[in-house]
Symmetry: C2
């Protein structure tokens, strides 16, 4: 006798899986919405085991993602080794779907270049934790590793190295396809008008020349918002981006625009007067962002933006997703404000995993809840999920993976499992086992605390 | 023309090396006591390059450590690649010796087992940073991975796993020899009477049975100090340790002894009365430690102990080294007290590298100085150095190396270079390059901040 998956339904945004299979030492992560296991155990035989479509399923073998999903993360977590090394699984019924549709990880490949294999390994870890969005913060002030077909000078002159520290078109394709086969969307972020220093190396006149007194200082500020050439460039650039990245959304950034350079520049000053902006440079920022959003909207993409764009009162399309990240004002207040205005929102503030401290910091990560703010049910429904962010100032290939995992797993369960799943002690036990499962699959997830993994160092 | 090392002297505790060799983009770490470089550059040819003994050197080709040291860390740091990939070195004269004789790293293989290759990789990194002591905190409460010939049950029953999570006699030999060839001493720590829970699994009656009211609770406390069998065991055990580890010193621990179990035990209470200790359990601790020190002294080894042993007034041999680690009282006061009593001392308090925080915490690590206390010159001379400690609660093979390096490198320079070397900006530039050198040698040292290494990802 061997187990079958006897049913699955395909619904918008949600998958239901029913298993009629096995279990004993359960350590599911994230924990499914509903499951019931029994003491009836089956042995798995590699030769005869298969997962089959349910009779009532609307999907069939033609759905490649579902076929691939039949490696099913949840299912594999039900399998345990007994004392004789045989693979066991107990009879279990699971009905599962995620609490939030948007469950993301942000990686930053600009502060440090991340080689392809690091990105792929983390996509694998994401799939193990049921994350479904890879937010690729691909470029920033420090370097521009994205190789553009339209503007090859951007990476040629803006990457740390023009050959070894770039993502070629085929690299990008591989990331997207590798992610797709694991049910993960790739949302690229091209942050403007701030955070663009590296863009200026390969695109002359894109950035605002800063002034020291009456003459240019030789340094540059945010994208120059008063030149038509800036918008012409963005039109061409985002036309390319909209075809390279198939996802329906692009993240346009819009955070932390420093006004000091704009203020120093006499041409900008003149423009402020002409436009009647007075000395309110956030109006100039909004002027830029408004035009950029129109440019991107013309590519038929939706957009995500950091919260400042909303805070500054930029007119946004109804389907815009507002990304909350600031610590002040409190994120609960910001989430309430954004949803009161009717916008979809997602949370990152408590999940800046680049911030580290001594001890078990996963507990506070685990306790944060994106719907924990004062608002109506309708407002709560506008929360589409959240993202764990690993900004790259202090991480590269040497330390990224153990720093991210299993801390990000705490976010994964918060975004997937039922709101009522909050028992830290129970979570500790399951997460410690889940972490060992990642280690066994070759992902160097760091330990939660003292102890060992049963399978580690077997070959040594 | 190719460079020669033209002189080296062998002196007690100190090596002097004179190079008549090359330099240009210098990034020495730790920085030598004296060096002078010139613009005269030589090309290195792999075929003809050699290091020779100086005519006035007292050592000869028969000294295997010195022969091996001719890979000389400092020399290799003088080599740089020019824009054409050729190896260059500028004419440089270096006279070097360490400021402190004891420059150590503590690794903890009990909270998590550390596979051999992690230990060896870190010995390699230690050599690159001129550390010369590997303090092997090999066993503790959580596990006993040291495989004893005399008491095989200790690891058989006290390790996380009796075959995969142990150090066999040949593993230990390999660590010692690998270290020796890099000029590194291996000082094992067998911490007693506290921190011994794992010992109790393989050695019945070694630990004190704790009581709950009038009956044993089933749990155990520190080593039982009132039984002769405890001392018989320690005599046999340390006889083995003294032959397995060739170094002249053994670290005997002695920290954090919890008195609550002793207090609960009626036999211990009776013994306290008999000995006239009243209710001062530190007297009982001293009673144990005193006998242990006599046992170890009989093996002809010197000993290191954590500061509590000194604080509790145990009578110590004159050559005992007191290891300062506590935050309260301030370590400066403790160093003053210990040296005023005439003992050698070494510092770890500011160098608990298991403690992490966000950002560039290497700066505070770098700023600490073990002679920064109020005392006479004679007292200052009793400071033999320090150790960076990486306690193992939150680290194992997945994250140990990038967490330790290059943060430990900051300790390395403090212990090697002249007291006056304190410029953080200058250190940043050299350390960033030194970190890239470690990465190039296959040691995943984490980045200090944004940027990249010239040689990284070349093959990708």
């Amino acid at each position: 006798t061997h187990p079958h998956v006897i049913s699955n339904h395909y619904l918008t945004q949600k998958f239901f899986f029913y298993f009629e299979v096995s279990l004993n030492e359960i350590s599911l992560w994230p924990i499914p919405q509903k499951f019931q296991s029994s003491a009836v155990a089956f042995k798995l035989s590699p030769a005869s085991f298969q997962i089959v479509h349910a009779k009532q399923s609307s999907a069939g073998p033609s759905c490649s993602i579902l076929e691939n999903a039949f490696r099913l993360e949840t299912f594999s977590q039900l399998v345990y080794e007994d004392d004789y090394g045989a693979n066991n699984i107990n009879k279990t019924e699971i009905s599962d779907f995620p609490r939030f549709a948007h469950r993301g990880i942000l990686l930053d490949s600009s502060r440090h270049f991340l080689p392809l294999k690091v990105i792929l390994a983390n996509l694998e870890a994401m799939a193990m934790n049921k994350f479904n969005v890879f937010h690729w913060h691909i470029v920033d002030d420090q370097s521009f590793p994205y190789m553009s077909r339209t503007f090859p000078d951007l990476s040629q002159k803006g990457a740390y190295h023009p050959f070894t520290h770039v993502y070629t078109p085929s690299d990008v394709k591989m990331v997207i396809e590798f992610a797709r086969m694991r049910g993960i969307r790739v949302i690229p972020e091209f942050d403007t008008p701030g955070h663009t220093r590296s863009w200026g190396n390969g695109k002359l006149d894109l950035l605002t020349p800063c002034y020291s007194g009456s003459s240019p200082s030789g340094t540059f500020g945010p994208v120059n918002p008063i030149l038509n050439s800036s918008y012409d460039f963005m039109t061409e650039f985002f036309k390319e981006i909209s075809t390279v990245f198939p996802d329906a959304y692009i993240h346009l950034g819009g955070d932390e625009v420093d006004f000091s350079c704009w203020k120093s520049n006499p041409d900008i000053q003149k423009f402020m007067v002409q436009q009647g902006f007075g000395t309110d440079y956030s109006k100039l920022e909004s002027f830029y962002v408004q035009r950029l959003l129109d440019i991107v909207a013309a590519t038929k993409k939706g957009y995500m933006v950091w919260q400042e764009v909303f805070d500054n009162g930029v007119k946004l399309k109804a389907d815009t997703q507002i990304h909350v990240w600031k610590e002040r004002p409190q994120y609960q207040d910001e989430m309430a404000k954004v949803t009161a205005a009717g916008f979809n929102t997602l949370l990152s503030t408590p999940w800046y995993l680049n911030r580290i401290s001594y001890g078990q910091d996963w507990v506070n990560i685990y306790k944060a809840d994106p719907q924990n703010f004062t608002g109506t049910d309708a407002q709560k429904k506008l929360v589409i999920g959240g993202e764990a962010c690993l900004w790259g100032e202090y991480v590269d290939a040497t330390n990224l993976t153990p720093r991210l995992w299993p801390r990000a797993s705490a976010v994964a369960e918060r975004l997937w499992s039922d709101k009522s799943v909050t028992d830290v002690g129970n979570a500790y036990n399951r997460l410690a086992q889940h972490r060992c499962r990642m280690v066994k699959r070759g992902i160097p997830a760091e330990p939660l605390f003292v102890g060992h993994c049963r399978q580690e160092y077997m070959g040594l």
